[in-house]
Symmetry: C2
Subunit: 384 residues, 2 copies
Amino acid sequence: MDNFVFQNTVKILFGKGQIANIAQEIPSDAKILITYGGGSIKANGVYDQVKQALAGRAVHEFGGIEPNPQLETLMRAVEMIRAEGINFLLAVGGGSVLDGTKFIAAAVDFEGDPWDILAKQAPVHSALPIGAIMTLPATGSEMNAFFVITKAATQEKLGGMCAFTYPQFSVLDPTTTFSLPDRQIGNGIVDAFTHTVEQYLTYPVNAPLQDRMAESILQTLIEEGPKTLAHPSDYDARANVVWCATMALNGLIGVGVPQDWSTHMVGHELTALYGLDHAQSLAVVLPSILSLKRDVKREKLLQYAARVWGVTQGSEEERIQAAIDKTRSFFESVGVPTHLSDYKVGEEAVSSVPQHMSDRGEVKLGEQGDIDLDAVGKVLALSL
Amino acid sequence: MDNFVFQNTVKILFGKGQIANIAQEIPSDAKILITYGGGSIKANGVYDQVKQALAGRAVHEFGGIEPNPQLETLMRAVEMIRAEGINFLLAVGGGSVLDGTKFIAAAVDFEGDPWDILAKQAPVHSALPIGAIMTLPATGSEMNAFFVITKAATQEKLGGMCAFTYPQFSVLDPTTTFSLPDRQIGNGIVDAFTHTVEQYLTYPVNAPLQDRMAESILQTLIEEGPKTLAHPSDYDARANVVWCATMALNGLIGVGVPQDWSTHMVGHELTALYGLDHAQSLAVVLPSILSLKRDVKREKLLQYAARVWGVTQGSEEERIQAAIDKTRSFFESVGVPTHLSDYKVGEEAVSSVPQHMSDRGEVKLGEQGDIDLDAVGKVLALSL
């Protein structure tokens, strides 16, 4: 096991009715900005629950944060916060709203161009406190400090984090997700699955507890994912998927082990260039990464085949191929196609994605740092 | 899944050499009290590492905290803290030192008799900040707010917790545990195993991720425990046991599920009355609790048999019995006997333990609240 430092301070309020408890988590004299997306929270009753919980409090609102939240949109919220003296942010929505709100929190007091927080990984020295009501099980953003932001002007989608962008609290009420369309639930399952794989399918460092915890999340997603798609209002099935999504990216399964993240790096480019949903981009890239890197990932792929998919028969090569095929089939089964052609993206991606990545400097992705621009092209060729 | 609130703010510094990094975790103007036990930290080099890391800092020392730390001892530290104006506690040792230090931290500013924090669960409104260097993998005290204290005068051993007794940071350097005697490592394995079982072997509430994470800890302890006893200086095996012990009681596997804790409640009495090591008392009680409550725990016992021990053949009753027998054998295999007679405790315990418990009021233990004094007597009769 490698050395590590782990800390995650987020307070999770999980279960039906927990929105009613948020008032006690926010200082009584706070000037609150509620941030949200396209307005689905007004249709599904979440907005009303929030307003009721915060009755009598000083509350402003900023809506319209889009999927793959854009710098240009978020900076308008920053201006509003500065003008109004707002000092607490309450993100209500999915990962995009929460990611966008983290960026807003860090940008408010940032000196210089806030895009540098992402483009130059410029240090952040403070951020506004954040609370979250997460209404989409997927990104894990409710229990980490990461945020991924898109700059529309340059078609760049970049990730960042800092010590100050952990939410102080996050509410996870599975009932708030019942009205989500199948596409978003399927996406969320693929997202959580891929987050787990990025921290698991690398090379062994003798960390069996981390391995088994990762396998626990994967097995539970495989078991509960189809259930929750078939029965969206089955509380337990949905609650289990919600909790898997949180556990997949709160840092715990990744302590002391190597991490990959190449699928995300390549996937972000597909979203930026071709508009694929985040999870769609992961579903396209992951099977190809596993296929291309099957030699350096051999030991963990065999473990994954046996423990997650129950594949123990056949040659090593056959077992590895079966595990990759089953991964692809699982993504397809939850409604997320796994080929670029499914999204009307053609061979041009094989050159356009590496070209776009090369604009930002040297590319050495993966746990071995051995996925260069040439390898990215090969991954995309495998994904057509 | 049941509703839950989860937060654990402890910063973990895990791995070889991490003691060198503690200075940056403690305010530079702090007046520090190093608390420790019988002095093994001076023999194994940990004390020297701590002093070196804190060179130039204002440091006091309080040694002599005993296993099953005693109120009477700890109150002497409280007096010293008040006299010297100490404002940061650094616990260096095992669970007893850390538990004792948490109590000290809560007692310093407590108005009234600090024993009430345990005996009457009196509310605590503040505590001194605590850092920890945990040198014994067992109690999980390094990543939770619990403390168990013994009052020698009345032979009472009671547990408590409050929001302020989470360590701010905990160092887990597996190499600091290499010199521990086999008995303490065996005890630690049993302790971590039982902590996990207390949160797992109850009744199903459709929380498969929590179940699998608990099973992950149990499987890893079964796999790595014997390895670390056979090869105490095998870094990875020891590191895996250390991390299992932390994960077993940091709250995560217990979210949203029923919890038992009857084994601990009865075990504490055996320690208080007969001086068994904490883990010895658990090894004696747990198999008997599982045996007595096999009907209400049936579904989870069958799952435990299959997933943790690979027992899938035979009738339900045979599988349950096999799982209980394998649990007992595992404890014995790591050097912790499982019968009262092994500790020279006889039939008198069958009446003395319930009698001692009854002095503190009504007894309704276990996840169903159905283990009364009569049942406690039956458990002890099964443990002779």
